[in-house]
Amino acid sequence: MILTGKNALVTGASRGIGRAIALELAKRGANVAVNYAGSEAKAEAVVSEIQQLGRQAFKIRANVADESEVKAMIKEVVSRFGSLDILVNNAGITRDNLLMRMKETEFDEVINTNLKGVFICTKAVTRQMMKQRAGKIINVASIVGVSGNPGQANYVAAKAGVIGLTKTTAKELATRNIHVNAVAPGFISTDMTDALSEEQHKEMLALIPLQKLGEPEDVAKVVRFLASEDADYITGQTIHIDGGMVM
């Protein structure tokens, strides 16, 4: 299998897209550390599913925006797995509001988790990956980071930031054989999108050439490709997974 013997860490892996990514990597042979912040029971369920596939897995709590927690997490993952080949920066939150109503705390919380968290986790794994002279980092951005989206100034700013961070990290680490790419999911069916009204759903569908929502697995498969040797000549890219919404 394409990821046999690889060791991965997926942040925010207890639910939604992160969960699908963790399972997809495991299906293709990888051992997976399942990071979560709050949903411990759900993280445990993901761990069991992975173990049933015959791979190693364990859950590990850490707030990605907290550098000391992240450092401890990376240390534990490396000591349990022996290496860390794949990092998927997926953890994210939303605090949607119109710009005029958005509180500074709402802005900061989203930037801290969704953007600073990617910086902290990336920095923390770089030492290990540089030593290995190999690594794959995949950042889960969002199509709204490319297109903008009313009501999500904080989220869009963070995701656009992730795309820029992806490009810079890719350039800095290329000589060490560390590949850094992003995926930009569009309208994917998760808890996050279930929170939208029926009217909002309809409006979104009208913008999607493929005329359907994506599934978390649609994102997971592209992440699995970027994590594999098949993508060894790709770095610094942002792959849109959005049914053609933004071209």
Binding site: R127, M130, K131, E172, T175, R176
Partner: protein
């Protein structure tokens, strides 16, 4: 146990793939040993592992020559 300078030299030879003769106490990583910024960061990481210590970022930024690194380690161990 080998002398600090020899241990540092071994790491530099391994990482930067340079001629041993070029590695003197006065040699500048960037000017004489053709290291780029990332190489220096990586060397510091290797030194931390080799000598089982942590070099703070502010201190690491002051390490420009082989001698800077050797003296830093000697001071810490002395």
């Amino acid at each position: 146990m080998a002398d600090v300078f020899d241990r540092v030299k071994a790491i530099i030879v391994d990482r930067l793939d340079v001629d041993e003769a070029k590695i003197t106490m006065e040699a500048s990583f960037k000017d004489d040993l053709e290291a780029d910024s990332l190489d220096v960061v990586e060397l510091v990481m290797e030194l931390e592992d080799e000598f089982d210590m942590e070099i703070a970022d502010e201190e690491a930024e002051k390490i420009n020559t082989v001698g800077d690194a050797v003296n830093y380690i000697n001071n810490l161990q002395g």
